[in-house]
Amino acid sequence: MKEVESLKDMYNVSASPHVRSGVTTAQIMRDVAIALMPACLFGIYQFGFSAFLVLLVSVTSCVVSEFLYERLMKQPYRPYECSAIVTGLLIGMNMPATIPVWIPMVGGVFAIIVVKQLYGGLGQNFMNPALAARCFLSICFTTRMTTFAVDSFANSGASSKGLYLFNYGFAGLDGISGATPLAAMKASQAAPSLLDMFFGYHGGVIGETSAMMLLIGACYLLYRRIISLRIPMTYIATFAVFMILFGGKGFDVEYVLAQILGGGLILGAFFMATDYVTCPITKFGQIIFGVCLGALTGLFRVFGGSAEGVSYAIIFCNLLVPLIEKITMPRGFGVGGKKLAK
């Protein structure tokens, strides 16, 4: 054998396989961010500059928190992975446009530092960071997180403009109105028409109003094979069945559809329940996960105090994931098979 001069003269050696599919984590995250765009843009169109500001602040907060944390912990910073951007977008999309901007900022820090990084960073969090942040904020700042209608500054009678902005955010400068359809239904008031709900002409948080825009994004994810229909479909179907059985209106298609379109269900089912890190990895597990989600969402909406139930259902089911995976481990190809009798 010839002596090898130096390592440089040698060819690369690694264990097989020697080819890769070309799909990367960064690409996947980028695709999710792209898929959220139609709904974000519609939110901005609908709620104006204040919605844009909320989204911008929450994304910036997430990205900066991640950068600072990884710097402090001397970890390699992987900005190309875009996952902080997705978390930021989801936090912003889950907030009313009337929110003061410091709240999404707090949400971003909480989601990235507490929920994600303290548990080990990307891939290790046991709850969806954006939803955990939303729930944390809903508990801490309940009124502000559920205020969808504010009087403009001029009509509010507030004494100082600063205090007003602190409480109601920039949306208050023009005034915004519109309770969410679910809250209206819960209070037995008239909800908007189904078509308006589908297109998004109703109140709600920035990203949930337009089912159509969300579904466009979801189709993109399905087309790119980032998500499958397994979780969203079982989720929505179970929820529909639950509402028919226990919603108190029987088989009322309009009511069930309003429940599906009027709140955060579409956003939750397609974009948050399908979060890779916090959903079961086994196919059958994903179906069980979807069923649990549907039942819990229905339970919270029908019997709970709040009109919404998606966020709590998802983070609760996130906690079930290890259990679901444990009972749905596949058997292995041919395992337990019998030898043919000789």
């Binding site: 054998m1 010839k2 090898v4 040698m10 060819y11 690369n12 050696v13 690694s14 264990a15 097989s16 396989p17 020697h18 080819v19 890769r20 599919s21 799909v23 990367t24 984590t25 690409q27 996947i28 992987r78 992975e81 996952s83 960073g121 990307l122 891939g123 290790q124 890779y276 890190v277 959903c279 990895i281 086994t282 196919k283 995976e325 481990m329 596949p330 058997r331 292995g332 190809f333 041919g334 395992v335 337990g336 098979g337 030898k339 043919l340 000789k342």
Partner: protein, 440 residues
């Protein structure tokens, strides 16, 4: 029932168009020929020649040693230059016979004489295979005479011929199916004489329409041989997946195909069987695809065993760009080479040269639990969970999740968006578990 496919699997870029339509050309060796005594699974053969001995084409130079072993045959005539350890494809030094070629190609007596296989007894057929040094040429190199000696000959119902060639870039089996159809059929007929109750199934992936057309004609007159077109997907050629796709029977890693009445062999092996049994020609040649984006003139070559790999690269016009990675075998399961100074063996199927190394250029990141590995795993196990155990060297946990069912096909590493080296970690865990089992 036979589904013609299996669950999971991947569709990598196949690159077969580079060499698919290149007929095989004969490549005669220029330098010395090196015959490692271990070109198969089992005990290495014992060298039966010494330095200075004259050898002839077709002469046995390594004797099978032990129950699982086979013979090694010289592919040229000349003088034995040395019997010493030489570098082989796996990066290990293996005792080898080095022959200086006299370029006369003087055959041993009786080489190439035709023989009527229909009068041979079963034991005769098997011993011819052993003396001819025939091994599974799909890559593993299991001695064929042992594989074709199940506990009970009459219990074999299906003899499956693997013509799927699911590894990207490789076209050697495909060329064989086109160019050596006749010998392939004879080889199968010979093996069917061993198993009186068996039906032969030639399995070909549907991305090889030309081979399908030719074989369809060839099997028309055969009562015991049929053609089964299976879906193109990697790893369709893996033994368990192939059996499932052709017969609908499932086996796990603790079983042998004969346990479910099947035996699988590769196309090229069948041609070698035909040559050995019907033409008294032992295994001395094989067809090798030289391909990849760094190769100037990709092609298929008939190469004598013992030929140096660098002559393969030369035969294909050399490299047009400096290769970053060289692979012997397919890109999914082949071995990366750090040097070309190694000999062609019975199990070599290709030399691939790539200008970029996709593995080195993809950084490894944290797992995001996307589940792609679970979706593609043909063993229906959960690579993501196995990885957690493999990283902690928890062999018990690894086994409890059916880690030993892994066939190391590489689909999980291929698909992982985080560039995690799943297959590599599993290989290590599996080796460590097998070592432990040996100790007990």
């Amino acid at each position: 029932m036979a589904a013609g496919t299996f669950k999971g699997g991947i569709h990598p870029y196949d690159g077969k168009h580079l060499t698919m339509d290149k007929p095989t050309t004969i490549l005669l060796p220029k330098g010395d020929l090196v015959y490692p005594m271990s070109q198969h699974i089992g005990n290495p053969a014992k060298p039966i020649v010494a330095k200075g001995d004259k050898v002839l084409v077709g002469q046995k130079i390594g004797e099978a040693d032990g129950a699982v072993s086979t013979c090694i045959i010289s592919s040229v005539s000349g003088t034995v230059k040395a019997v010493e350890p030489r570098l082989t494809v796996a990066g290990t030094m293996v005792e080898s016979v080095v022959v200086e070629n006299d370029n006369e190609y003087t055959p041993i007596e009786g080489l190439g004489a035709s023989r009527d296989y229909t009068t041979l007894k079963k034991e005769e057929i098997r011993s011819i295979m052993k003396e001819a040094g025939i091994v599974g040429m799909g890559g593993a190199g299991f001695p064929t005479h042992i594989k074709l000696t199940p506990k009970n000959d009459s219990a074999i119902e299906y003899f499956i011929i693997n013509g799927s060639e699911c590894e990207p870039y490789l076209t050697s089996d495909y060329r064989m199916m086109l160019e050596e159809t006749n010998r392939l059929m004879i080889g199968i007929r010979i093996v069917l004489r061993l198993f009186e109750n068996a039906k032969a199934i030639i399995a070909v992936e549907d991305n090889k329409p030309e081979a399908i057309r030719i074989l369809k004609d060839a099997v028309q007159k055969e009562s015991r041989i049929e053609l089964k077109v299976i879906k193109t997907k990697y790893p369709q050629g893996a033994e368990r997946q192939l059996i499932y796709a052709t017969t609908g029977r499932k086996m796990n890693a603790t079983m042998l195909p004969q346990d479910i009445g099947c035996i699988v062999n590769n196309v090229d092996t069948m041609i070698s069987v035909c040559k050995a049994v019907a033409e008294t020609t032992p295994l001395m040649k094989r067809v090798i695809t030289v391909s990849g984006d760094a190769v100037k003139n990709p092609g298929n070559f008939v190469v004598l065993t013992g030929t140096n790999y660098s002559e393969l690269a030369e035969a294909a016009g050399g490299f047009q760009t400096k290769p970053a990675k060289l692979i012997s075998g397919g890109p999914m399961m082949g071995l990366a080479l750090y040097s070309l100074d190694i000999p062609v063996t019975k199990t070599s199927s290709s030399l691939l040269a790539f200008a970029t190394d996709e593995v080195a250029t993809m950084p490894e990141g944290p797992c995001i639990r996307c589940g792609r590995c679970v979706a593609v795993c043909p063993g229906r196990i959960v690579p993501q969970k196995l990885m957690e155990y493999a990283e902690r060297c928890d062999d018990k946990g690894f086994e409890s999740l059916n880690g030993m069912e892994c066939c190391e096909c590489g689909s999980c590493s291929y698909i992982c968006p985080a560039g995690r080296h799943l297959t590599q970690a599993f290989k290590q865990s599996r080796r460590s578990i097998l070592e432990e089992r040996k100790k007990l």
